[in-house]
């Protein structure tokens, strides 16, 4: 893949001899393969070196999302108060690397691992990280997206239909992807339809996977990159807040969102920074919904593996652990189990 990347960059950069080195795939990236690499070339008599990330579509994955939309949402926030890596090239031609891909600048010197953030020395700066995490979410929630690249790729629901659009989308995915009946999720979907949330306060950019694990942080508690925008859309800003509380990402297993902050603090920071209100009924609705959405993701991965479209072992592991786990998390959110 080094040679293919070098040839690709030679056509994109003002350079003739691009050298690609230190190419390696990073763990995770269950929806798109994520590879890191360095590129060096001569430009105007000087040697230049830059670090890049390439996100490549696999044959099958946990999610089947539109890379063009992900690229657009990243681009929307470049240069804003929401830190994101700079997008460089979007390539739909699958023949170059074996799948469509995009390349972005690599943010250096940061951690992203969930096991790191819940262990010393980062436990000392969890309050700062959490403060930054929910202040940045507030910026996303109140961002004026009209006229942005995101607006060109994402349809905007009305405040009254934001919930229905998302629920319908993920119910369709469960309908298409389930390998066996899902009676617990079906019960939740009926409850969600019978108890709709109040209209959204505004239609916002929704990151769609905003949680610990999808941002790059440093030991002083600062956050330097919000990543994984593949499920970004326009909708109710409460959706992201609720998603961040899902038990699937309570990494310390202590009931705290992300394993770094208590719910009350997270809500207070977000409300204060955004000027929006986390209506408790709306928050509960979106938390129940977050389990349905998670299950849609896990079921998609399970089917991909079952049908032989991929041999990525993360998919059956997620299926074996999280499909049943998500049912239990949902039952807890609905007050059915302690």
């Amino acid at each position: 893949m080094e040679a293919q990347l070098a040839r690709y960059l030679e056509a994109k950069l003002p350079a003739e001899h691009v050298r690609v080195s230190n190419l390696f795939r990073i763990p995770g990236g269950a929806s798109r393969e994520t590879w890191m690499f360095d590129a060096s070339w001569h430009e105007s008599g000087e040697e230049k070196v830059e670090a890049f990330v390439v996100r490549k579509d696999p044959p099958a994955s946990l999610l089947e999302t539109d890379r063009e939309a992900e690229y657009a949402f990243y681009s929307t926030f470049w240069g804003s108060k929401v830190p994101v890596p700079r997008m460089r090239w979007l390539e739909p031609d699958a023949s170059i690397l074996g799948g469509p891909f995009f390349i972005m600048d690599r943010i250096l010197g940061c951690e992203s691992a969930t096991r790191v953030i819940i262990a010393p020395p980062f436990t000392d700066v969890q309050p700062e990280i959490a403060q930054n995490m929910y202040e940045i979410l507030a910026v996303i929630s109140t961002f004026d997206w009209k006229g942005s690249p995101a607006a060109r790729v994402a349809g905007a629901p009305t405040p009254e239909t934001a919930w229905e659009q998302e629920l319908g989308h993920w119910e369709r995915i469960i309908n298409e992807q389930e390998l066996s009946p899902q009676p617990i999720m079906r019960g939740a979907i009926r409850w969600l339809r019978a108890n709709p949330p109040p209209p959204a306060q505004r239609i916002s950019v929704v990151h769609g996977d905003y949680r610990v694990g999808n941002f790059l942080y440093q030991a002083d508690g600062s956050i330097h990159g919000i990543v994984d925008w593949e499920m970004a859309h326009l909708g109710d800003p409460i959706e992201d807040l609720a998603w961040s509380f899902n038990e699937s990402w309570q990494w310390a297993k202590d009931g705290r969102p992300g394993g770094i902050v208590d719910r009350g603090t997270a809500i207070a920071v977000w409300e204060r920074a955004s000027g929006l209100t986390a209506d408790r009924a709306a928050l509960h609705w979106w938390e129940v919904f977050s389990h349905v959405k998670c299950q849609g993701i896990w079921l998609t991965g399970a089917r991909s593996f079952q049908e032989g479209r991929t041999n990525e072992l993360i998919l059956p592991l997620v299926a074996y652990t999280l499909i049943n786990g998500q049912d239990q998390y949902l039952l807890r959110t609905m007050g059915r189990i302690a």
Partner: protein, 148 residues
């Protein structure tokens, strides 16, 4: 087959997570080997219990469907009746038991949706019984060897 298949898979997992893991040089490779080891342990657990879990669950769900059928009518009753009429698995292959499980659990979804629309105390009681079964179904699927 002796050693038991579960023990064989446990041995595979131990080898992957100890001997092989330390030879791997890349983070992605280490993750893949770690996942393979975890899957071997979980598959070992499931191998031993799968038939028992499915037989128990199919029996429990069929009892609920039979007791719930008189509480619903129309299309719901037809769906529940169809699930009840699904032939029991012809053998003890896990694939056969799973096919029966899919059929009766589809009927359970129909019954659950149906009783939610009925306001009688009997329907409320059935609703709670179904939730209790669903909670129990998650316990049946828990892995002692779950690492994540």
């Amino acid at each position: 087959m002796r050693p038991d298949p579960g023990r064989v898979l446990q041995g595979v997992a131990v080898n992957l997570l100890t001997n092989v893991m330390q030879e791997i040089r890349t983070p992605f490779g280490m993750q893949t080997v770690g996942i393979a080891g975890s899957l071997a342990m979980m598959t070992a657990e499931e191998f031993d219990r799968a038939a028992d879990r499915l037989v128990s669950e199919n029996r429990a769900v069929r009892a609920i469907l039979n007791d719930g059928l008189p509480l619903v009518g129309g299309d719901t009753a037809s769906a529940v009746s169809a699930a009840i009429a699904t032939p029991a698995a012809p053998d003890f292959r896990v694939s056969s038991l799973l096919a029966e499980n899919d059929a009766v659990r589809a009927g359970l979804i129909a019954l659950h949706a149906g009783v939610e629309e009925v306001a009688t105390p009997e329907a409320r009681s059935m609703d709670e019984r179904i939730w209790a079964e669903l909670i129990e179904s998650t316990h049946r699927r828990e892995f002692a060897s779950r690492l994540i």
